[in-house]
Amino acid sequence: MGSTLAEKILSRNSGSAVRAGDIAVVPVDLAFVQDTTGPLTVRQFQASGLKRLANPKRTVLFLDHAAPSPRSEHSNDHLLMRRFAEEQGCLIFDVGDGVCHQIVAERLANPGEVIVGADSHSVTAGALGAFATGMGSTDVAIAMGLGKTWLRVPETMRILTTGKFPTGVFVKDLILHLIGKIGADGATYKSLEFGGDVVDGMGMPDRLTIANMAVEAGAKVGLFPSDRITESFLKKHGRGDKYIPLQPDQGATCETTIEVDVSKLEPTVSRPHTVDNVALARELKGTKIQQVFIGTCTNGRIEDLEVAAAILKGKERNSRTRLLIAPASRQVYLDAIEKGYIQTLVKAGALILPPGCAACLGLHQGILADGESCLSTANRNFKGRMGNTQSFIYLASPATAAASALAGEIVDPREVM
């Protein structure tokens, strides 16, 4: 009997052959927290009577959600985390370094590992073939102290991709389409396993975008195979020695298989206030947008800024639409400067925010006014998410976002490409 990627990774790490439905106790290869969940993690770590981290070199604290801090309360949380890192000798990435999931992908995650993060979008590292999942502060505190955690081996929903993306259609459109199809709880507790011709040829940045949003369908992990693309990504980032190949077996037991022909996709948008409330960009033409936000762990990578810069080059944003752009990491920011994208974007009227979560979760840097709408490249459009319950959030690809910034309303990016 064949194994799914989830079964393979958890069997490898637990030391016994586990199947969907089994409970596996596994060593944790990487544990991390960010600045909204980290302070509680530190307090729970101490309350549990734990003294030292099981593996300080693979425990990481990120200051990215309120970065730089807009209020003294967040500043004090940052101070608490910096002190904990110093005392325990673990890694810390401070304000301006970037979003945790981007840094985990660039520097820390490896195929076959078990990764737990106190952030729901920890699933992002599934793009590298790691069993990466989000947990709460207490779970991560205990995992940091004991060096292990329990996981129920998830059933698998396999997504089989075929076809070729039409011009103007991107992987963001694919994942929004898929979530629209299966629903915001369509993959609850499950492993979303991506495969097929499109995945075989898909670059790591695109895989990260898709894996990132697996949790928006309720999934526990969003897993990609580890293949030559994974190997070249790891080599490029100086850890080629960490490569191991990982593929699901032929005949592995999947609960369901969903086929998506990407040739049939069109630019897709999630409407307020749930991610599965999708429509085509062209169907929403005329929807006025007061703010466009390009960035986040979903779409703040250099390839995303490249797409936005290509659309905005030599043009200017609509005078009634603010354009906020946050590179996902310091490295992305440097690359964007070097390639000239930052200059292009600023000339087009963009405001560049520091690498980090920026406007995504409503703590700072771009809170909407009553009745305003934002078109964002993030992953979540819940009511009040960007800091005001009386505002509206639409989610789309960087191309749709850039094109809409020019038009001042939602448009199909193919109109300007």
């Binding site: 509680l40 549990s48 009577g49 920890s122 709460g136 915001a184 526990k220 800091g387 319950t389």
Partner: protein
């Protein structure tokens, strides 16, 4: 272990931003968090809720962010238990870890309205809507989860384990 309280009913996809908005994530005091519980979707909740009350919701309760502040705020508001059609998985673990019991039962979720008196037996998984007289059954917890609940959450369970190891 039996619980009894008035139902506060919600629909599907109640996300953790709705349970406790990000602007309160730097608050560490549970009672302070409780003052803002559900405020973005139900401003009257905090005024209406009484100790022992039960939240009943449809599918995917607690979806979204991993913030543990969400079950902490619910528990500190006086809610004794949440019954839902289904739970988002991170929320599920978080609630168990901090000692907020959850029962998954789509039939009970559909059969309860705001104001109904609900009785819950955590050991057997039986849910009774006293107002309508209907009974429902949720699947019981696996043994190791029941152990976390009985220990009063993951922190106290770990504490006990560490004490035994010394």
């Amino acid at each position: 272990m039996k619980l009894r309280g008035t139902a506060h009913k919600y629909g599907s996809n109640v996300d953790t931003d709705a349970i406790i908005p990000a602007r309160y994530l730097n608050v560490s005091d549970a009672q302070e968090l409780a003052k803002h519980c559900m405020e973005d979707i139900d401003t009257g909740f905090v005024r209406r809720v009484k100790p022992g009350d039960i939240i009943v919701a449809e599918a995917n309760f607690g979806c979204g962010s991993s913030r543990e502040h969400a079950p902490v705020a619910i528990k500190a508001s006086g809610i004794s238990c949440v019954v839902a059609g289904s739970f988002a998985r991170i929320f599920f673990r978080n609630a168990i870890n901090i000692g907020l019991p959850l029962l998954e039962c789509p039939e009970a979720a559909a059969g309860c309205s705001t104001g109904d008196i609900i009785e819950v037996d955590l050991t057997s998984g039986e849910i009774t809507n006293v107002t309508t007289g209907k009974k429902y059954r949720a699947s019981p917890y696996p043994e190791f989860l029941l152990d976390i609940i009985k220990s009063g959450g993951l922190v106290s369970q770990t504490k006990k384990k560490l004490a035994r190891a010394r």
